[in-house]
C-alpha cells in the first residue's frame, strides 16, 4: 500500500498584479476525497493546475511525497491523473489511438486489459475505434477519465468532473471516485453540491482572497 502525502505551503497566485488567492495551506496525508469550493472565477482551476504542476504558484510551494520520498517536478506527471473540462483529447485519432500514443509518450507499458476494462467502465467500448471528433461532449468527458486513470496514478485531480455528463455518466463517475478514493488521494474542484458531498474536507477559496 502506497502512502501519498500532499502538502501546500503558503501558496499564492497572482496573474499580472491581480491576486487570485493568498496564504493557502493544506495537508493531505490520508487517502480519501478532498474538495475545493468557490464561486466562478475564484481560482479553483488555477489551484488544481498548481497542484498538478502545470503552472507554478507566485509564491510558496506544493510538495508531493510518495512513501516519504519527495517526487521531483520533472517526474510528477507520472503520478498525477487529471480531469478537466478544458482538457482536449486529440480529435483526429480514435479513443484507442489516443490511448496507444499517450501510453507510448508516457513510456508506460501498453496495458490492453486495463484499457479495455476502463473503456468498458465508462461505456465507450463500442465506440473505441471511432474518431474522437465524432463523440458527443459527454463521451469526450468520459474519455478523459480513462486518460486520467490509464497509468494508475497515485493522486487524482478533478476539475468539475461531472460537467457534460448525463445521470448514468455521473453515477459511473461517483462509483469510480468512491472506489479509487479508498487507495489514493482525490482532489475535486467543483460547484456541484453532489460532487462536493463526497468530500471529507473542503477548502473555500473565498477565505483566501486577502
Amino acid at each position: 500500500m502506497n502512502k501519498y502525502y500532499l502538502l501546500a505551503e503558503d501558496i499564492s497566485k497572482k496573474f499580472g498584479r491581480r491576486l487570485i488567492f493568498n496564504g493557502l495551506n493544506f495537508e493531505y496525508n490520508h487517502n480519501g476525497i478532498y474538495g475545493i469550493a468557490g464561486i466562478n472565477g475564484s481560482g479553483k482551476s488555477t489551484l488544481i493546475k498548481i497542484i498538478a504542476g502545470i503552472i507554478s504558484p507566485s509564491s510558496g510551494k506544493v510538495i508531493h511525497k510518495l512513501d516519504d520520498k519527495v517526487i521531483e517536478e520533472e517526474k510528477l506527471h507520472n503520478y498525477v491523473g487529471f480531469v478537466a473540462p478544458y482538457l482536449i483529447m486529440y480529435e483526429e485519432f480514435s479513443a484507442w489511438e489516443n490511448l496507444t500514443h499517450i501510453s507510448k509518450i508516457r513510456g508506460i507499458e501498453f496495458n490492453k486489459e486495463l484499457f479495455n476494462s476502463l473503456l468498458n467502465d465508462f461505456l465507450l467500448i463500442k465506440r473505441k475505434n471511432d474518431l474522437v471528433k465524432t463523440y458527443s461532449s459527454g463521451m469526450k468527458q468520459r474519455l478523459k477519465f480513462i486518460f486520467a486513470l490509464m497509468h494508475s496514478p497515485k493522486i487524482l485531480l478533478m476539475d468539475e468532473p461531472t460537467s457534460n455528463l448525463d445521470d448514468e455518466g455521473k453515477e459511473t463517475v461517483y462509483r469510480i471516485v468512491n472506489r479509487e478514493g479508498k487507495n489514493k488521494i482525490i482532489v475535486i474542484a467543483s460547484n456541484e453540491r453532489t460532487d462536493l458531498d463526497m468530500c471529507s474536507t473542503k477548502i473555500e477559496l473565498e477565505d483566501y482572497k486577502k
Binding site: F15, G16, R17, S58
Partner: protein
C-alpha cells in the same frame, strides 16, 4: 541635482569640442585633432556615432540582464526595467544607424552597402522590432514578460556572431574590418589612431552619453511603474 548640472556642462563641452576643434596634419596645440588617413574631417562623427552604437548595445544588454532577472524572480518591476532599457536602446540604435548611414554617404559613397557592421546594426534593429512586435501581441502581463524575456535571451546569444565573427570572416569597409589595411586582422573595437586630446573627448562623450542614458532609463521605468499603479487605482475606483 548637482550631477545633472555636471552632465549638462559635460555634454555641452563634448558637443562644442567635438564639432569645432580643428583637424590638422600635425597637431601642436592641445585642441587640435590629428588627421587620420581615410577618415579626414569625417572622423568627428565618432563623438556621436560611437556613443549611440554603444548605447544601442548597452540598452540591449541591460534589457537582457533584467529579462534574466525576471525569469529568476518573476517580479514585474524587472520587466518594466527591461522594457524601458529596450525602448532607449531602440532610439539609440536608430540614431546610430542614421548617423552611420550619413557618414557612409560621404566616406564610402553610398548610404548603405551591407558592410558587416551595417548588417549587424540592421540585425539589432530587427531584433528590437521583433521584440516590440512580440510584446504588443500578448495580452497577459505575465506571459508578455516571460516570453519577451525568453526571446531577448535567445536574440542576445546571436549578438557575438554579428559583433565578433561576421566582421572577421566577411570583407568590409568599416574601420577595423578584416581587410582594413591599416589594422590588419580587424577586431570588434576600432583602433582609431587618435591623439590624446581626441581620446579624452571621445571618452568624455562616451561617459556623458552613458550617464544621460542611465538617467533616461530611470525616468522611463519609474514612469512605467507609476502608470501601472495609476491604472490599478482607476480600475478599483
Amino acid at each position: 541635482m548637482a550631477w545633472k548640472i555636471f552632465l549638462f556642462i559635460l555634454l555641452t563641452f563634448v558637443l562644442i569640442a567635438g564639432i569645432s576643434f580643428p583637424i590638422v596634419e600635425n597637431p601642436k596645440v592641445w585642441y587640435q585633432f590629428p588627421l587620420i588617413p581615410g577618415l579626414k574631417e569625417n572622423a568627428k562623427i565618432i563623438f556621436f556615432h560611437v556613443p549611440s552604437a554603444w548605447l544601442a548595445v548597452i540598452g540591449f544588454l541591460m534589457s537582457t540582464i533584467y529579462s534574466i532577472k525576471y525569469l529568476r524572480k518573476k517580479n514585474l518591476d524587472d520587466d518594466a526595467k527591461s522594457y524601458s532599457a529596450a525602448q532607449l536602446g531602440l532610439i539609440f540604435c536608430i540614431l546610430a544607424t542614421i548617423t552611420g548611414a550619413v557618414w557612409a554617404k560621404f566616406a564610402w559613397g553610398s548610404f548603405w552597402s551591407w558592410d558587416p557592421r551595417q548588417t549587424s546594426i540592421f540585425a539589432l534593429l530587427l531584433i528590437y522590432g521583433a521584440w516590440f512586435a512580440l510584446r504588443s501581441s500578448i495580452e497577459s502581463e505575465d506571459k508578455r514578460a516571460t516570453l519577451s524575456a525568453v526571446y531577448s535571451i535567445i536574440a542576445f546569444v546571436t549578438v557575438p556572431f554579428f559583433v565578433f565573427i561576421m566582421p572577421r570572416i566577411m570583407d568590409g569597409l568599416h574601420p577595423g574590418s578584416a581587410d582594413d589595411k591599416v589594422t590588419p586582422g580587424g577586431g570588434p573595437i576600432v583602433d582609431f589612431r587618435m591623439n590624446d586630446s581626441m581620446l579624452v573627448i571621445f571618452f568624455l562623450s562616451l561617459i556623458g552619453f552613458t550617464i544621460l542614458y542611465y538617467w533616461m532609463w530611470k525616468i522611463g521605468y519609474k514612469s512605467l511603474l507609476y502608470k501601472e499603479k495609476l491604472n490599478k487605482k482607476l480600475i478599483r475606483g
